[in-house]
């Protein structure tokens, strides 16, 4: 009880330091700049923070932190915005948002999708910050229990849960997943340093990461699809007849549960170093679909399909601050950049952080709350404006999507070869769609394939080649059991579904 009152005096102090009008202004600038950068395909929160870092030189540390918070959340929301409006994930964690966000936009419900994304982000971010404040040290110990076998089984569970998304044919989904895994294997192997599947091309050494795959498979693929007139039911791409901005009561209820579930999943995925927002979003989507009463709506524009992943990736962003602050361990690209930024302002994250620089930390936590609120305050009024973007003639819209995608791919490393990779992936996506293969599992393979591989190989290194390591550790065994149950229920369902046909 005593510690709880302590926390509240501390956070009140933090708000006192962070909540000055000047700082609020910096926070707003951060949200706006972050959103602007996040909108560009390929430029996610990590890049946004490192690009905007020099702007904060010479600021008070707290002003800089509140701006970082704003940039972080702003960039994530910016990524979701383009995912919904033009099927172009602006950053890797908003890839999942395209699955239902874009179909919603096509139905003329872009405003609804944006609204549920913003509120989901707000709930996810705020809850994660609350947990960060209240129970960070205990949670860190929990995350340390996760070794390679636990990660392996968790990632495998995520793969199994989501493997059937967007597909009517299981074999085609599987094919797409394997294709994604194969694409992700290109490049230098982390465990041995061997260059794999690169055909001797140094351009392929750094591999095809999730960002390039997202731009190529979704943004370029979608543009080529529209360009070749595959969708032309009438001139307009987007049904503006039933264009409504708000959400119906029923949609509020549906979203509310999705926000909560997504938040919890996202937060726990976030505190595990190396897991992060993209995986959180995939898992939240998988759970939502599994427990939904209307699984058939997923992929066609289900509100939950936007609400859950968006809540999850923002909760994961907050969750990843737990190991960063409590142990000084950056668990994701974005937190690695945050670490550099914090160090520039004399904040040395680690177990002694709360003792050594209490004022700064509580100011930082208060900044995260404030940045979250600013995200809502700034972006909700803009929802109407953004959904009007779709009224732009589709020729101009999609030509700019291609231009921005190619520039986004280029700006990652400044190399022309990445733009070619993106183009080739776009053609691949078109070909797959042409033959009715789902695209989402390809991306799932790209995201989860390398993680599953690395953790599997790490596990066997640790056990010196003994496979029983997966069955003797309780957490890993638990996840594997869930996977077995999942597969079993899927098989039973398949059998029941085929029975009437055979009769």
């Amino acid at each position: 009880m005593d510690s709880l009152t302590n926390i509240f005096t501390n956070i009140a102090n933090g708000f006192g330091i962070a909540g000055t009008p000047e700082n609020l202004m910096y926070g707003m600038i951060g949200v706006l700049l972050g959103t602007a950068v996040g909108v560009l395909p390929g430029l996610g929160p990590a890049v946004a923070i490192s690009l905007l870092l020099p702007i904060t030189f010479g600021m008070e540390p707290i002003s800089a932190f509140i701006m970082f918070g704003g940039i972080y959340y702003g960039a994530m929301y910016g990524g979701a915005m383009t995912a919904i409006l033009v099927n172009t994930p602006g950053c890797s964690s908003s890839v999942v948002t395209t699955f239902d966000g874009h179909p919603l936009a096509k139905k003329g419900r872009a405003g609804t999708a944006l609204l549920t994304a913003i509120i989901g982000s707000f709930i996810g971010g705020t809850f994660a910050t609350l947990m960060l404040m209240l129970v960070a040290p205990a949670l860190v110990e929990l995350s340390l229990l996760f070794g390679p076998p636990e990660y392996f089984s968790l990632m495998l569970l995520a793969l199994v849960m989501v493997a059937t998304i967007g597909g009517n044919s299981l074999v085609k989904s599987l094919f797409a997943t394997f294709l994604g895994i194969a694409i992700a294997m290109i490049g230098i192997d982390m465990q041995t340093g061997t260059a794999r599947l690169t055909f001797g091309l140094p351009e392929l050494y750094s591999g095809i990461n999730i960002v390039l795959a997202g731009i190529g498979l979704f943004a370029v693929g979608e543009s080529l699809w529209v360009l070749s007139g595959q969708d032309d039911k009438g001139k307009s791409q987007f049904d503006s007849a039933q264009s409504k901005l708000g959400m119906s009561n029923f949609e509020w209820v549906r979203s509310a549960y999705a926000w909560l579930r997504g938040t919890v999943i996202g937060f726990f995925a976030g505190i595990l170093p190396g897991s992060g927002g993209t995986i959180a979003a995939f898992m939240a989507y998988g759970v939502e679909k599994k427990f939904s009463k209307r699984p058939e709506e997923f992929g066609q524009g289900a509100v939950e399909g936007v609400a859950a992943p968006e809540a999850a990736n923002n909760a994961a962003a907050g969750g990843s601050m737990v190991p960063l602050l409590a142990l000084g361990i950056p668990g994701s690209a974005t937190t690695a950049v945050m670490l550099v930024a914090f160090q520039m302002y004399g904040l040395q994250p680690g177990p002694l952080l709360f003792q050594n620089s209490g004022d700064l930390v509580w100011g930082l936590i208060a900044s995260l709350y404030i940045a979250n609120i600013l995200l809502v305050v700034i972006n909700v009024p803009l929802v109407g404006l953004w959904s009007k973007l779709l009224k732009v003639p589709s020729g101009l819209l999609y030509s700019s999507v291609i231009v921005f995608s190619i520039l986004g791919a280029f700006s990652l490393k400044g190399s022309i070869s990445d733009t070619i990779i993106v183009f080739v992936l776009g053609i691949l996506a078109f070909t797959l769609r042409r033959f009715n293969f789902p695209i989402a599992p390809v991306l799932l393979g790209v995201v989860l394939g390398p993680l599953i591989e690395q953790e599997f190989r790490r596990s066997l290194s640790i056990s010196t080649g003994d496979f029983t390591i997966f069955f003797t550790r309780p957490i890993a065994l638990g996840f594997l059991t869930v996977i077995a149950l999942f597969l079993l229920s899927a098989v039973v369902k398949q059998l029941r579904a085929t029975k009437p046909v055979t009769r």
Binding site: L224, G328, I406
Partner: protein
């Protein structure tokens, strides 16, 4: 000299009326040797000054040691107001830095405004992947920092001293599971060096690679690995909080931390420094190199930089000129040796229990069986319904696809050889046309406006130079 430049300047901006366009061009070509001559003379007589922003390329993704060095250097130069132009930092990660190195050598040859952060990891990567270029292809500017490798174990580990750990490592190498950064990096190569000095067969090293030092530290604290290897400064807070005990350090003496034993004390000759430095593009003039060396020297001597060194626990490993060049040569040799003795690199597959081709094979087998299954299904379908005419409209559409894909391909070619500003205003109306746009005029205007807007935003606000 000044006059000559004025004259040339006037010629270049002479108002072009009618046919004089060609004349100007011819004049320009005539003066070309003179211009270049004038400029080279200028640089040798007066000191050279940069007239564009200086760009420091960080050859890794944001976060991590190289990124830190680049950004702290940028901050020092800005805060101490050392350069007449702005300083920008761009990240160009991938393949241990080879991508950025190739870019600096091949694309920015002779460009005095491009600098790159480099270090031990890059010599390792170039040696492992038989890279076309190496650090000797660049213009050396200065070595800046050095960091010794430190070995840590969980606080409650049974290994209490460095001697304990080394004895166990020698006796049963596979049982000591090392955790550190990715294969081929400083952490990995240091473990290889240790094994080499202890006479351990490199095939028996059990090294688990993590994406970054942070994840490896988490694995160590969770007891997943037996010992962790990382730069001394990166351990930081977890040591102070008694979560990790540091057993050994790769410095020659106990100068860094008197409480940590050195390998030299145990009679293991494993002095090793993960150095970081800054280099410039090849073939810049001597005056340009001098300017850059002077700039970095000023930055290094500033109190801001000394403060940064202290705060980050970095060693001041400052070297310029011939000394630095020789250091690069000798270091590359040592690295090459470690890699050869360890059987690492493009030739060897390393010693992981599951080799690098296991998962690609699984994916390949999976793809094969899925295609087989689909192919059989397709054959069955063909037999049952043989109305191919239904596919006709789709085939028509495919022509449109070929056309638009070709347009994008031409756009990419244009991007590579002509430049963004020229091809984009053409590309946008063409694509718009494909989608049935009727007002070409409007599309062209939008194309030009968008191109201008993107160019300004990317180049001035995002530090991305459009192709």
């Amino acid at each position: 000299m000044h006059q000559l430049r004025n004259i040339i300047g006037e010629i270049l901006i002479i108002p072009t009326n009618g046919k004089s366009m060609l004349n100007t061009l011819l004049l320009w070509l005539m003066f070309l040797p003179m211009i270049s001559h004038a400029f080279s003379q200028k640089t040798s007589s007066n000191a050279w000054q940069p007239n564009y922003p200086l760009v420091i390329t960080v050859p890794s993704n944001p976060g991590g040691g190289w990124d830190q060095l680049g950004r702290f250097l940028q901050r020092t130069i800005i805060e101490e107001k050392l350069a007449p132009v702005s300083i920008e930092v761009v990240n160009k990660g991938g393949a241990g830095g080879i991508i950025a190195l190739a870019d600096l050598v091949a694309t920015f040859d002779g460009n005095p405004h491009k600098l790159m952060i480099t270090g031990f990891g890059m010599t390792g990567a170039t040696a492992m992947h038989n890279s076309e270029f190496n650090l000797q292809s660049t213009t050396p500017i200065a070595a800046l920092t050095g960091e010794y490798q430190a070995i840590g174990v969980p606080y409650n580990s049974p290994y209490k001293t460095l001697a304990d750990l080394m004895q166990a490592f020698k006796k049963d190498p596979e049982k000591i599971i090392w955790g550190g950064g990715s294969a081929g990096g400083a952490d990995h190569l240091f473990v290889n060096l240790l094994a080499d000095k202890l006479g351990i067969n490199p095939k028996n090293i059990n090294y688990v690679a993590y994406t970054g030092g942070g994840e490896a530290t988490a694995a160590l604290m969770g007891g997943q690995v037996v010992a962790g290897v990382s730069g001394y400064s990166e351990w930081g807070g977890v040591v102070d909080a008694n979560r990790v005990r540091l057993l050994g350090i790769s410095s020659p003496t106990r100068s860094v931390n008197p409480n940590i034993m050195t390998f030299t004390e145990l009679g293991i000759d494993a002095v090793f420094q993960n150095w970081r430095a800054i280099v410039a593009a090849p073939n810049i003039s001597a005056a340009q190199q001098q300017y850059l060396i002077a700039l970095i020297t000023k930055a290094r001597n500033s109190s801001t930089w000394q403060d940064i060194l202290k705060r980050n626990n970095w060693q001041d490993n400052f070297l310029v000129g011939e000394e630095f060049s020789q250091f690069i040569v000798s270091d590359s040799k040592q690295t090459q040796e470690i890699i050869e003795h360890g059987g690492l690199g493009s030739g060897g597959e390393g010693y992981a229990y599951i080799g690098p081709y296991f998962f690609p094979s699984i994916a390949g087998i999976g793809l094969f069986f899925c295609s087989l299954f689909l192919f059989i299904g397709e054959l069955k379908n063909r037999k049952s319904l043989s109305n191919i005419s239904q596919l006709d409209p789709a085939i028509k559409r495919l022509n449109k696809f070929y056309f638009s894909a070709a347009t994008v391909a031409v756009y990419l070619l244009g991007l590579a050889y002509l430049g963004f500003i020229f091809v984009t205003p053409v590309f946008i109306p063409v694509i718009s046309r494909i989608l049935g746009s009727t007002s070409t005029k409007r599309d062209i205007i939008v194309g030009i406006l968008l191109t201008t807007f993107i160019t300004i935003v990317f180049e001035h606000f995002l530090n991305v130079i459009v192709p």
